[in-house]
């Protein structure tokens, strides 16, 4: 059974194999080490000339990738820990993501920045954050995040094939996860639908009409799924899950479709939405989701589950209390229905 890590790793190999314009760069990515999380393992052995280990220079890594992209290459840059995306903010916001529009569509900037995000490993306040929220909504930038659903490798290949800059957010805990199949294991009771072509979304429909929709992405789906199972088993509450792989630009059509189903016709009950993410609550992904849903759907009831607005502590009990847990999702769902 293959893992998310394997899927991403072989996607990078495929990209290097099939397109000579693809370059991979980042800190400590050479074999035998193969990168801090091993996503780049084996690449430098196979393609020594196109796999470039870099100094510890996050801004220059992304800036260089932008320059490469402007001049016809297709770079994939790795930021060792997603916490360091703060260092690339200028290169992303004021350079890479702006060029195409600012230069009147004269240029395209096909680059991918991969960043492992997330906590739950006791890495402490500067190596555990989910900072993708800072980049959601940046004009000209796409933000994608694989989950264990579908094909994370295909998603990465689609990101590389894209002509615009992409921030590709990988939750660290996802790497060792096996790829999930609908109808198998604890997903047996759910029907899996997907759509969205290049950057697919997934809808997990429960066996009975849902009382609420849970919207999430990435590793959070593991928690959402555990919560949905508990809600079903313990409380006979059915939740439909919508799992996005395109975080930004926001396209919430599948969510709105799902919300339409959570209103039992004639019952007068409100549409119920729960968003789940690991970043801090305030102005996280869920804020935009909730805001758009509130604008579009009348009679909406909504709650967001996210990390507390605090740094992430090193000590396990603190980290656990700060980051959202499946139990928090269950509790929020119960408060909503």
């Amino acid at each position: 059974m293959s893992t998310v890590l394997e899927a991403l790793n072989s996607a990078l190999l495929t990209a290097l194999e099939s397109d000579p314009r693809v370059y991979v760069l980042g800190e400590d990515i050479l074999d035998p080490y193969g990168g801090a999380f091993k996503v780049t393992r084996g690449l430098s052995t196979r393609f020594p000339g196109r796999v470039l280990t870099t100094p510890i220079s996050e801004a220059a890594i992304v800036g260089a990738a932008a320059g490469m992209a402007l001049r016809g290459l297709r770079p994939v840059a790795e930021i060792m820990f997603g916490d360091f995306v703060t260092l690339i903010a200028d290169q992303v916001v004021n350079h890479a993501a702006k060029f195409r529009w600012m230069y009147n569509e004269n240029v395209r900037v096909p680059l991918v920045v991969r960043a492992p995000m997330g906590g739950r490993r006791g890495y402490g306040p500067t190596h555990s954050q989910s900072l993708e929220k800072m980049f959601l909504g940046v004009p000209g930038l796409k933000v994608l995040a694989p989950s264990a659903l579908g094909d994370p490798g295909a998603l990465l290949l689609a990101a590389i094939a894209d002509d615009d800059p992409v921030l590709f957010v990988e939750h660290k805990l996802l790497y060792t996860r096996p790829l999930l199949q609908a109808g198998q294991g604890d997903l047996a009771d759910f029907t899996l639908e997907s759509g969205g072509e290049l950057f697919p979304y997934f809808v997990l429909r429960p066996p009975y009409p849902p009382r609420l929709t849970i919207a999430t992405y990435g590793y959070n789906f593991e928690l959402a799924r555990a919560a949905a199972l508990e809600l079903m088993m313990e409380h006979e509450i059915f939740a439909e899950m919508v799992v996005f792989s395109q975080l930004s630009p926001f396209d919430l059509t599948p969510l709105f479709d799902s919300l339409a189903r959570t209103l039992r016709p004639g019952s007068g009950q409100a549409h119920r939405l729960l968003t789940v993410e690991e970043g801090t609550l305030t102005l996280g992904w869920g804020a935009e989701v909730a805001a758009r849903a509130a604008e579009a759907v009348s009679g909406l009831r909504v709650r967001r589950v996210a990390a507390r607005d605090l740094p992430i502590a090193n000590a396990r009990p603190l980290e656990d209390a700060i980051l959202p847990q499946a139990q928090d999702i269950v509790a929020a769902a119960l408060s909503l229905v």
Partner: protein, 306 residues
Amino acid sequence: MTDNFALYRVMLLIRRFEERLLAEFSTGKLVGTTHTYIGQEADAAGIFSAASPEDVVFSNHRCHGHFLAYGALSPEGSDPYRLAAELMGKATGLVGGRGGSQHIQWRNFYSNGIQGGIVPVATGMALAEKEKQTGSIVLVFIGDGTLGEGALYESLNLAALWRLPLLVVLENNRYAQTTPVELAVAGSMSGRFAAFGLPVWERETSDVLEVRALAGEAIAHVRSGAGPAALILHTYRFMAHSKGDDPRPPEELARIRQFDPLTIHAARLSPAELDAAEAEVSALLADAFSRAESDPFPVLGNQVNR
């Protein structure tokens, strides 16, 4: 563009273009701001007369002079008209009015208004040219003040490690906005490059022939595949940093006017040549600005965030 007349003509084009711009600003025809190249013309004219038309350029906020000299080099010819249109925010501008003074793009020429941040991008471009084996080098322009930005040093390190065809041109006009170099640059300018293993070509001059010779050496080094280099030109900016507000004392402004690159180079031309250059440039600019002025403004289509 190797003869004296051509060099003079480019410098004069820059000078008159910028003067015209300042005039347009003061009559309210232009909005935003501008950073003129007046006083530094020898740099761009000299450098681009030593570069190849296929070289790649990343310029900064003070990009008009670089662009006009680059354009003069181009087989498609200089294009003050589209630059003027850009500065007026017209749909026919270099980037359709979206970028304005600091953010232009044309052929292999790019500029952006973030100090220092352009250098990593130029470094990546140099990597691309090297990998594609185009034989092109990348020239990136910074000012003395931009030595303050950390992104520069990250890039020098990368460029040196990877032996990239990158020439960093440092135009030291002795001020960053209003801050004299003494308050902003510790140690030594050339040392900043040497520390990363970049050879440095450095000269205090406003003579376009000296610039051309020096730039030629630096460019030849970079083009040979020997890795990145720096070209440091100590020069003077005659006008205010941007539109107005120049805190420098009048004596200083008078003193630096001695080093006018146009005057220095004019001594090599005949009065007839000088008149011809003036007439040619004046006709070119009159045409450029009047066409640009009558061009339409852009409209925002149904743009979406992609």
